[in-house]
């Protein structure tokens, strides 16, 4: 028996543009339209433009491999997962799947608020393709994992969102297919919950299960996958080992301008009332640039609009290396006094700005991620790879030795040399 788990051959998916905007029409419109323009309708029955959400994607995956799929919003990641989990049909190409597929495009599909936790476990399990006997066998484990024992016979509409997510994930986590297809399930919930999900996911991966995992979260990708494919505008750009792919992804296809502007489409309605406008890096003379000297301080600006007042809002930056390792995280209300005085941020147009002192970074490319959230309440917006910039270390400490300095930072330290007796 061959060890092949998944073979994807020249897969493509085409959508009509109109499906993106108004996805359904009325019968009345259709009839009127057909009567009005019989000729046009006959020639072009759908009467709309088409675009390829995904095209010419080829790859194979062996049993036991964990493959990451990375790409920007709209790169075709979700389309690929939907095709592999048979939710949508491809327009062209072929995929072969050897084994039972379980797909987690979201957690809690089919949960009904009126039903109790217990009832929803059975319902959701069945929707995910588990047999009743299988659910019964795993029931106690699922309840224990979700930590909601006391509320198991309470309708889930009375659950807090955290409890709801835990229960939903618990059911999904106990699905045991041979091939698991996972979308960004980890992008929800609080940090503790995310940690738990990641832990469970790495258990699954280490059990030798075949997993296809889509995420924006580079640290999750690095922890869970050995290999990745990168999608961009529906095409497969690269397939490589994870460190290489993450490096490629974080450093390529950015505008080399030192500024990242967000379009209307990118600021999703889920982020409401937060609307990102731009992230930019400036040198000491105030120029927007993506190439800076390590001996200069650099300014990072996050520009955004609030369409309504937000209580407890904090705007944060993540600083990462091009390999996706975190260097630090900082929020604009890290100072307790500032957090007190800005407890409510009124609707309006803002810039949150910080200065990173001179002699912080080592040579190389760095990635800025941004985050807008209210602690323990909601994460409005997050973009872990908003933009990147490069650092030139001319004049930095130790430059008189031509050698590689390890580590992402290169602080200028106040060395004292004492001679003892």
């Amino acid at each position: 028996m061959s060890n092949l788990a998944v073979r994807v051959e020249d897969i493509g998916k085409q959508y009509n543009i109109f499906q993106e905007t108004a996805r359904y029409i009325t019968l009345r419109e259709k009839i009127v339209e057909t009567l009005k323009t019989p000729v046009k309708t006959l020639l072009n029955p759908t009467g709309s433009e088409k675009f390829w959400a995904l095209r010419h994607v080829d790859f194979t995956l062996d049993h036991g491999q964990v493959l990451g799929v990375i790409g920007k919003n709209g790169a075709g990641k979700s389309t690929l997962l939907k095709i592999l989990s048979r939710v949508v049909e491809p327009t062209e190409g072929l995929a072969e799947i050897h084994g039972r597929v379980g797909s987690l495009l979201e957690v809690g599909t089919g949960f009904h608020p009126e039903l109790t936790g217990r009832e929803n476990i059975f319902l959701n399990g069945a929707i995910l393709g588990m047999k009743k006997s299988e659910i019964e066998r795993k029931f106690d484990e699922i309840v224990a994992f979700s930590e909601i024992e006391k509320f198991i016979d309470t309708p889930v509409k009375r659950y807090s969102s955290g409890m709801y997510m835990r229960l939903a994930f618990a059911v999904s986590a106990h699905l045991e297919p041979e091939i698991l297809v996972v979308d960004e399930v980890l992008a929800v919930g609080d940090a503790e919950f995310q940690r738990k999900c990641l832990g469970k996911m790495s258990d699954v991966a280490s059990e030798g299960r075949t997993v296809i995992f889509v995420s924006h979260n580079m640290s999750a990708i690095q922890r869970l996958t050995q290999e990745c494919i990168i999608l961009d505008k529906g095409a497969m750009v690269l397939r490589a080992r994870t460190p290489e792919a993450v490096d490629y992804y974080l450093t390529n296809d950015f505008s080399a301008s030192g500024e990242r502007r967000y379009t209307e489409e990118e600021s999703s309605s889920a982020a409401y009332p937060f609307k990102p406008i731009a992230v930019r890096v400036k040198n000491p003379s105030g120029q927007v640039t993506d190439s800076l000297f390590s001996v200069d301080p650099l300014t990072i600006e996050v520009e955004y609009q609030l369409d309504a007042d937000i209580t407890g809002l904090r705007i944060g930056i993540y600083m990462m290396t091009s390999r996706g390792e975190f260097i630090f995280t900082s929020f604009d209300t890290d100072e307790p006094e500032k957090f007190q005085s800005m407890s409510m941020r009124k609707a309006g147009h803002y810039i949150s700005r910080c200065v990173i002192p001179a002699d912080t970074f080592n040579e190389g490319r760095f990635v800025i991620g941004i985050n807008a959230s209210s602690y323990m309440v909601k994460r409005y917006f997050s973009d872990e790879r908003a933009m990147n910039f490069s650092i030139n270390t001319t004049g930095a400490p130790g430059m008189h030795w031509v050698e590689i300095r390890h580590g992402p930072i290169r602080p200028r330290l106040d060395w004292r040399i004492e001679e003892i007796a």
Partner: protein, 271 residues
């Protein structure tokens, strides 16, 4: 091994897949039933009240004032025996038509044979019918109607009503994904359909030579079959009529399944 590739035009029904997912049919039916009776306080009362009130109004206006004949049985039980299967059909058709749109979240996230959704919603309508049936038993006792051996036909007649609802439901639910205004049209169609069905009048009012044509409406067979099975009326029904109704119902079901399967691949894209 599963092969995923584009399909063109008419496709097979994949009944084997449907069988593999039979537990999901059970769970979704069970969910619909549970939610229905949890959400409405009236719940059970409503299931009794609806056909009962219809029967009262029919009796007053059609039975008393319009003096519509009732094949020799008291008009109240004559109309109730028909209202009950009619309500079963109308309710099943209503939920089945809306089912794809109201379960759109599931459809866009998880794969399973889509035919399960209308199927489960039709099954869940049966509960109301059985609740309403208790009233019928009461009325049969009140009017001293003795059940005969013909009562054994009931399960098949119920099945015929469900098959008809499911067949039309496959068509309408698939259409509603594409054309949302089908949702407004369906109640109107159901309303007209009721007057094309011998609910408030007997088929015996229709000239004999037209009866087989009249039975092209599968609900004619169901309703007159019910009266025959429970009340023993023979003026209005013949084996030929039941046969015609059954054949049409099966034809609608099979065509509905094929149409649904043909549209199925677009559901997740459009919903």
């Amino acid at each position: 091994m599963v092969v995923i590739q584009p399909s063109r035009g008419w496709v097979g029904l994949k009944l084997k897949d449907l069988w593999l997912y039979r537990e999901l049919v059970y769970f979704l039916t069970w969910r619909d039933i549970k939610v229905r009776y949890k959400q409405s306080v009236l719940g059970i009362l409503w299931a009794i009240l609806k056909p009962f009130m219809a029967m009262v109004v029919f009796t007053i206006f059609f039975g008393n004032f319009a003096k519509i004949p009732s094949d020799g049985v008291p008009y109240p039980i004559f109309s109730y025996t028909a209202t009950l299967p009619w309500e079963l059909f109308a309710a099943a058709l209503g939920v089945a038509s809306r089912s794809m749109v109201s379960n759109s979240n599931m459809v866009s996230k998880i794969y399973f044979p889509r035919m399960i959704i209308p199927l489960a919603s039709v099954m869940s309508s049966v509960v109301d019918f059985f609740i309403g049936f208790t009233i019928l038993i009461g009325m049969m006792i009140f009017y001293k109607v003795t059940p005969t051996i013909a009562t054994l036909w009931l399960p098949l007649l119920i099945l015929l009503a469900l098959i008809t609802a499911l067949g039309v439901g496959f068509w309408s639910s698939a259409l509603m994904v594409r054309y949302r205004d089908v949702g407004y049209i369906m109640p109107f169609i159901a309303n007209l359909w009721m007057y094309l069905t011998p609910v408030v009048y007997p088929s015996s009012m229709i000239p004999e030579k037209w009866r087989l044509l009249y039975a092209l409406n599968p609900m004619t067979g169901v309703v007159e079959g019910f009266r025959y099975a429970l009340l023993g009326t023979t003026q209005s029904v013949s084996g030929g009529m039941i046969l015609v109704s059954s054949l049409i119902a099966i034809a609608v079901l099979i065509s509905g399944m094929f149409y649904f399967r043909r549209m199925e691949k677009q559901f997740a894209d459009m919903i």
